[in-house]
Structure formats: C-alpha cells, structure tokens
C-alpha cells in the first residue's frame, strides 16, 4: 500500500506519526510533499520564536525521524496536480508519484481582506517562520505597528510586535469585540482593559478601507474616515482553506471554501482523504490543532482498516494570551431565550466569568472565563458530561476566587467516561484504574496512562483523582491519631483541655485503649505541653516524650547527644563564648554554628549531659529546645544599632520575641526571624513567623518554611507596632497549636486551611471567630509558666539519675561509642 501526503504541517505530520504507530501491522510506503523549506513545526507556539526559540526548537520531528521511519519527505516542493484517473500526483520540481491513497493536508492560508495597498512594503501576514523572519528584518525600521484582526492569531501577532520592540501597537478588529468567536462584548471589554495595561491599544468596529503610503506603508485609512499612522502592518484576519488543488482535481468543495469530507475524512473521491484546516466537515472548518489531530487519527485508522469516525469536535479552548487567561467552553453565547447566564465581573482585578445554564438550573451549557481560568477544567467537564449543577450554581464561579474551591469533590462526581486528558484521550476511568492498580503518585499515573504528559492542563484533576480514589479505598479514611485514640489531634486537644488532664496515662484512661505507641504518645505529650507547659519529664510523661524530648537533647549517630544552649537573637557576649569553648574542650565536644545563629556541641555522652548543663546554666545559659517540637530560634540581623540601613532595632525585638515564646511546644518546630529593613538579611520570609521593619513599624509574615519544600511566608499584617505584632503572633501561634494536625508545619497547615490566608487574617486581625482574647490569655498562661527544663533537671537528683547509660553501672559510659577525627575535631564513627 502506498500513501502520498500533500502537506507537512502539524496535522500532516500527525498523520505520519499515526501511520508509523501502525507500521508493524501494515507494511506501507509513505511519501510526503511539503511546501515549506523545513519539516513540520509547532505553529501554535510560533510566537515563542520571538522569545528566543529557534526554528529547530519548534520542529515536531527532525528530518532524521522521517528517514528512520522510511518516509520519503520532499520539502520545498508543493504538489501542482492530482491525476485521479491514474492515481498520481506531480510536484513543482516534476516528481511524479503514484498512490493507493492520497491525503490532502494543505492546511490554510491567511485570509487577506481585499483592501487596496496590501502589496506595500511593511505589510506582512502571520503564518510561517519565513513570515516571522521577514517581520523581524523589517521591525528595526518601525516605531509604530498595527495588526488587522482581533482573533486568537491576531493577538498572538500583536504580542510578536511587542516582542520585536514596537511598543506602540494597535489591534484593529472589524467586529465590535475581540475574539468574536470565543467571547462576548463584556468579556472583550475586560480583555481590552487588560491588554491596554500591557501597552496594547485595541480599536474595534473598524473597517479598513485603504493602506496608505507610496512605496512603504505609512498608515491605515478606515471607512469612518479616521486614519491610524503605522510603519508596519500584520494581517491576521482569519484563515482560508487551501482547497485550490482539490478544486482543480474536481473534488467537491464548499461554497465558501474547504474540501468536503465525510465522517471517515474521505473526500468525494474515496481514495482521497482530507484532514486539518483544509477539510470542511458538516459545514465547518476546524481552525484548531486538536480537532486536526483527531482527523489525522481517523484517516489513518480508516486507511488501515479500522472503523473510527470524526463526529465534530468541542472547540472549547483555554489559553494564555499575552499573559492573560482566556477560556471559552461549550456554548459561550447560548441564546438568552433558552438559558440563564450568571456573570461575575471584577473590573479592578480584570476578571470576567460567565456561565450559561439551562432555564431549569439543572445543566451547564457553556461559558467564558477571562483573567482567571482556574475553574476551566471543572466547568468543561461539568458541561461535557451533563452533570447536574449544585443548588447555587454561582458557587462554580466564586469558589475558585474565594480560595475555597474544592475540585476534589468535583472530580468524584464525574462519570468514568469523562475525558480528563484530552491531549492523550485518557478517561477518568482509566486514571482511577491505574490508581487502583497501585500507581499512587502523579509520576506513576503519568507514566502508566500518559495523562498530563502533553499540555499538562489536566494535572490538578489527575492529582485530585488520585487522592479521591485512594480515599475511596480507605487509604486515607478518618484523620485519627492512631489505633489507640479514635480522635483527630484537634479533638484530642479539646477533650484534654475540658477534662484538665495532665498526664499521658490519664488521657489514655479517659479516651484511649491499649498502651499507646510511638505515634500517639508524642502527640499527647505535645498537647499537654501546649496546654499547661508543665515540666515535660514530670507526672510519668517522660516516657511519653519522643526520645529527644525525654533526654532533652538530640540523639546523634553512635548514640551520643548534641547540646544547644539558647542564644536569643544570636546575640552573645565574648565571656559567654569563652564558657562554651571551655565546656566544649572539657567534654571533648565537636562544635558547629547552626543555621539559626546558635552553637551546637556534639558528641556528649548521656551521663555527661547534666554536668554540661550545670556548667552552662551557671554561666547564664538556658535550654535552647533544639530537641523539641518547640520554638527554636529567632534569627536577627544586626539592625539599627549598627547597620547604616537599619530602620529599627531588630536584635532587641528578636530577643523579646525569643524570650516570650521560648519553650513553647507546638505540633511541629517553630522558627522565626526579625529583619531591620527591607533588605531582609535575617531571611524572615522563610520562617513560620517573620518580622520585617518598615518606616512605620513592622510587617508580620507567617507560614513560611525552608526544608525540602520551601515556601515563602505571606504578609499577615503591615506597619504594626511592637505590641500589636506580639498580640497577633500570640493569636496566630495559639490558633495553629490548637488546630494543626500532628507534625504539620505552619506552611502545610495554611495550605490545608479552608479559606487560606484570607481566613487566617480574619481570625487573627478581625477576630472573626471571637476567640482572640482567649487565644491571648492561653498564650500568656504558657509564657508565665515557662521554666528552663534543664535547670529543673540539674537541680533535681532524681531526674539527674535518669541520664545514665547503664541502670546497674551508672558510672560507666556506653563502651560501644566510637569517634574518628576530622579537621582537628571528632566525628561520630560511620555506621554500617
């Protein structure tokens, strides 16, 4: 079987790809003629050529790919004639090829309106890489530019002019609005505003009568007698199917152009197929790449004996136009007689959303999204699958902007046939099946189903499907602490508080079963500490503490411990530095400066810990709580006392904050910092709560963290005084402590918090829950109850006794502990 393809654009290439995929089944010969000098490239992303992508970057496949797959590719050689009787084609260069099947994928040409003067210098069309090269060569002569055509391609062309440095650019549209096939007047107005902000001026309702200038263009004359001066003009007023070859061969074409095809993409001659923008199906030319690809698939399958059919294509689109989200789906303009429209417009933010629903409020017909298209996927699925709408359909629009959208609930309602990834044709059912088969991460699901591997637009839905499917299998179930306590951490905290329980044993008696375990014990111990701030080794709670808390030190390789005295704000006297040096020498400790402006002493034997702390405390140090899920350090820059840029005394404020919250136990460790000016040397925006000096006071940022998933803190309150700042931190920390899941840092907590930052700000600043005074009082109680736990151990012989390695040989150290030497200090011996 021999197949000849006329045209090597995106769709012609896709046809080759589809045939190659079938080669093992059908030995066939494939010959391709292309008019352009290079193999098929990504015309959709043509503008990226101006961002620095090369023509090679845009290639869909290299010339080698065609060779490797046995495809004979004739470039720069358009076909001139089709001889249907003898089943041959003849090219411009005189090559004659016979065919069993012929595929016409000649695409479209730019439609150039019949306006006098189109032949002047400086007038371009926007279609091929050659067009771009000519525009680029001409652009340095141009100070102002214009584009005829306010559709998708026209706006892309306008972007190209901006990228070429022509900042004074106008878009001229004949109809009353931009993108007339996708959006309505109101949406167009919002889009125009947005574009104006980017320096792009839009003229609508303008009929160009003549192109002015002698040799080169100087301006445009409109039908309303106005004139626009311009040095360069790009025409992008629509497309015209390339059907002239088919017409000459006697194939049926439409009255306004386009090669007539049936559901199998066959033309009026059953041995000749036509696909892409030159094909006319059901009175429609499909000017997008996705339906073109679908046509390529249908034609390839039909030629190789499968029975696929093209039945039209959803022209819903979502794209970023010059940085603005624009989406249009289903029937965006539904007739007001037969539907209701809900419109949401925010002129300040530049967002416009419209959905059309049936008059009975049951179903979604289509809609338009501009400025924020986050809801596109969900709305498109709701339309396509004829899903019944919620009682308040406006929630579909407002949900996303309120920051409370729950796409997770949405995906579960989709039918299994729902197409989640339209690039790769992957249904919801296929994704859920993959998850059930054990592919429980996004990467796994992508690998296994190919969903989300093309444009990536469906990735959030794929993620939601993974979560939902796992939940359905009981893998997430209820958020309980563990098998011993059938409650969430938040519920446990409330229960313990109501009953004023003070020990793990009491809590287990009241609310648990069994003996507890390494999961629930530290959770309960942390809750008790957060509620009462009792000495954590009292009341039998020592054995409920995580190992580090139980020994008030961090266990390190080899079984020795590290010691971190508190150095508030990172400020330390030379005398205290000497003490640390002396202790380090005496107990042979490895010393290192930590990331939080403190000093860590490593390699202490368990039995030496009380002695080391006795000496540290005598010199005025106290516990640094480096071992606890507690406040660690409040880092600071040197601030206004020394720094010539400093606005306020960041060190003093950092010390005040560190001393207020020292020893505070929380669901996870807490870090903080204070910067004395906007240069942010203390890196406060990477902390759980960070403070930056402003001219008028302090800016308070919350919920940042470093670590494996860094996240910037977000502004909670601006320009507040020191006391207000501390009041807000009190409320924020207490609210976090009371509501977070175990071992959840503030950043993750915020990410999961319904309503996000807006909600948190309402609680902390506006007291929307009416609990601010209570939160402050609870924090004050913890602050008042603070005692250095190491001082208590040092002063209590019974507690000191617990810091020995052997219960029956308290003087002996663990003989298996081994050290090695490195750079004149010791290090732990390597473990197996």
């Amino acid at each position: 079987m021999k197949i000849v393809v006329i045209g090597n654009g995106m769709v012609g290439y896709k046809f080759c790809e589809k045939m190659v995929a079938r080669y093992s089944l059908h030995a066939s010969e494939l010959v391709v003629f292309g008019e352009e000098p290079r193999p098929a490239y990504d015309r959709v992303h043509l503008t990226s050529w101006f961002d620095g992508k090369t023509a090679d970057d845009l290639l869909l496949a290299t010339a080698d790919w065609y060779v490797e797959n046995g495809i004979r590719l004739h470039l720069g050689d358009p076909v001139l004639r089709i001889d249907r009787e003898n089943k041959t084609v003849q090219s411009h260069k005189g090559i004659v090829e016979t065919y069993d099947y012929l595929v016409i994928a000649t695409g479209s040409a730019a439609f150039v309106p019949p306006v006098p003067g189109m032949d002047k210098k400086g007038v371009f069309i926007y279609r091929t890489i050659e067009d771009l090269e000519m525009m680029k060569a001409f652009a340095p002569n141009a100070r102002s530019g214009a584009v005829i055509g306010g559709g998708l391609l026209g706006l892309e062309a306008a972007k190209a002019l901006l990228d070429l440095g022509i900042s004074n650019t106008h878009v001229i549209e004949f109809s009353s609005r931009l993108m007339p096939r996708q959006i309505d007047d109101q949406g167009s107005a919002i889009l125009q505003n947005k574009l104006a902000g980017l320096g792009l001026k839009v003229l609508t309702g303008k009929n160009t009568r003549e192109i002015l200038g002698d040799d080169a263009i100087t301006g445009l004359q409109f039908a309303d007698d106005t004139i626009l001066e311009t040095d360069i003009l790009v025409v992008s007023a629509g497309i015209k199917p390339r059907d002239e070859l088919a017409k000459a061969a006697g194939l049926t074409t439409g009255p306004r152009g386009g090669i007539l095809v049936n559901e199998q993409m066959q033309t009026s001659d059953p041995y000749i197929y036509s696909i892409g923008e030159c094909a006319l199906f059901n009175n429609m030319i499909y000017g997008l790449v996705a339906p073109g690809y679908e046509m390529a698939e249908v034609a390839a399958s039909h030629i190789t004996g499968e029975a696929k059919a093209f039945t039209g294509f959803d022209m819903s689109t979502k794209l970023k136009l010059i940085g603005v989200d624009v989406a249009s789906f289903g029937d965006p303009f539904a007739d007001p007689e037969s539907c209701h429209s809900i419109v949401f417009e925010d002129k300040y933010k530049g967002t416009y959303k419209r959905i059309n629903i049936t008059t009975d409020g049951q179903f979604l017909l289509g809609g338009i999204l501009i400025g924020d298209a986050a809801a596109y996927n969900m709305l498109l699925q709701t339309t396509r699958n004829k899903m019944v709408l919620p009682a308040n359909p406006e929630d579909l629009l407002l949900g996303a902007s309120r920051g409370t959208s729950d796409a997770g609930a949405g995906v579960t309602a989709l039918p299994d046939e729902a197409m989640i990834c339209s690039c790769e044709n992957v249904s919801k059912g296929a994704i859920c099946q993959a998850v059930t088969d054990g592919h429980e991460t996004l990467d796994d699901v992508k690998k296994c189903t190919k969903a989300g591997t093309c444009c990536g637009g469906c990735t959030p839905m794929v993620k939601d499907l993974i979560t939902a499917t796992m939940k359905a299998q009981g893998k997430y179930i209820r958020n309980v602490v563990c098998e011993h306590f059938p409650y969430s951490r938040q519920e446990m905290l409330d229960l313990i508080k109501v009953k004023s329980l003070r020990s793990f044993d009491e809590v287990l008696d009241h609310y648990g079963e069994g003996e507890g375990c390494e999961v629930c014990k530290p959770v309960v111990a942390s809750i008790l500490a957060s509620l009462w701030n009792d000495m954590i080794l009292d009341k039998g709670n020592d054995t409920a503490q995580d190992s580090n808390d139980r020994y008030l030190a961090n266990i390190q390789k080899g079984g020795t411990y590290s010691v971190v005295p508190r150095i508030p704000g990172g400020e330390i006297t030379p005398e205290k530095l000497v003490v640390i040096g002396e202790i380090g020498t005496k107990y042979n400790l490895y010393t290192k400066i930590t990331g939080g402006q403190r000093i860590d002493l490593f390699g202490a034997h368990l039995s030496d810990l009380p002695n080391i702390w006795e000496e540290l405390i005598a010199a005025g140090f106290e516990s640094g709580h480096a071992y606890g899920k507690a406040l660690r350090t409040v880092k600071s820059c040197v601030g206004s006392t020394w720094c010539r840029f400093g606005l306020h005394d960041s060190v003093s404020f950092a010390i005040r904050i560190e001393e207020r919250y020292r020893g505070l136990r929380a669901p996870h460790k807490l870090k903080s910092a204070v910067s004395g000016c906007i240069r942010e040397c203390a890196e406060a925006q990477s902390k759980d709560f960070g403070i930056i000096a402003t001219e008028k006071g302090w800016n308070l940022y919350v919920c940042g963290n470093g670590g494996s998933k860094p996240q910037h803190a977000q502004l909670l309150a601006a320009d507040i005084d020191s006391d207000t700042c501390i009041r807000y931190i009190d409320r924020f920390l207490m609210f976090y402590i009371k509501t977070a899941d175990p071992l959840t840092r503030t950043a993750t907590w915020l990410n999961k918090l319904d309503g996000g930052m807006d909600y948190l700000r309402n609680v902390v600043l506006n007291d929307s829950l009416g609990i601010a005074a209570q939160l402050e009082a609870e924090m004050q109680m913890l602050v008042d109850n603070y005692k250095c736990e190491w001082r208590e151990v040092v002063e209590n012989p019974e507690l000191r006794k617990r810091f020995s390695h052997f219960i029956n040989a308290p003087e002996d150290k663990d003989p298996t502990v081994k050290f090695e030497t490195m750079r004149a200090q010791k290090k732990a011996a390597e473990w197996k």
């Binding site: 069994g514 003996e515 390494e518 995580d546 190992s547 266990i555 052997f806 219960i807 002996d812 473990w831």
Partner: protein, 127 residues
C-alpha cells in the same frame, strides 16, 4: 533452640523495680552485654531484649518508646523508628530486618532478674 533456652536459663540480678521508669526502658549491663529492660506498668509486664538495634547497629533500644500494636507489646528505636515485638523480637515495621534476641524476666519482691541462656551467650560471644 527454644527448648535449650528454657531448660538452661540462669538468672542474674539486674536492678530494683523502682529503678525502671513506668512504661519505659533502661539499659542493663551484663558482663560485656547490653540488655534493654522494659516495664509495662498498666499490665504489669516486663520484657528484655538486646539493646542493639540491628538496623544501624546502635545501642539505643532501651531509650526507645514502648507501646502496643493490636495488644502486642513493642518498642520503637529512637533512631529511625523501626519497631520490634517484645514477645518474640521480630521487626514489625520491616520484614527484612533481623529479629532481636529476647530474654525472660522474673520479679522477686522488688528485684528484677533477667534470664540468660548459656548457649545463646556462647553464640553472642562469637559475633
């Protein structure tokens, strides 16, 4: 091996019952060995295992947190939270991990005795 174990147990005095924290562990020195001793106060049960966590060969199990899983007593190593059954010493969180040696424990008045087996002792000495 278990029959030899029970027939040739010799008991040594480890410590007083009050030396061991309730619901926690201590490390007992026996000749050159380290044995972890655990007390489950709520059910008044005592367990003893080797102190060495086989995962990274760290002398740490006595400092681990005790608990139960479906009523089976266990300890979690403070280093990487591997959990081991105190009944038979097998690793509960990782099937491929070596099991712990366990020892019988006897309480007489306020004294804790741990039973060691001559054969096991010899095997340990060879390692």
């Amino acid at each position: 091996m278990s029959t030899i174990h029970t027939t040739s147990t010799s008991w040594f005095f480890a410590c007083k019952t009050s030396d061991v924290p309730t619901n926690g562990g201590v490390c007992v020195k026996y000749k050159e060995e380290q044995i972890a001793l655990f007390y489950f106060a709520r059910r008044n049960e005592w367990y003893a295992t080797q102190n060495l966590c086989p995962h990274r060969r760290q002398m740490a199990l006595s400092r681990g947190m005790t608990g139960t899983v479906k009523d089976e007593p266990k300890v979690a190593c403070p280093f990487h939270k591997k959990t081991f059954s105190l009944k038979d010493g097998r690793c509960l969180s990782d099937e491929t991990e070596c099991a712990l040696t366990t020892y019988p424990v006897k309480i007489v008045d306020d004294k804790v005795y741990i039973g060691v087996d001559a054969v096991v002792e010899m095997a340990d000495a060879q390692i």
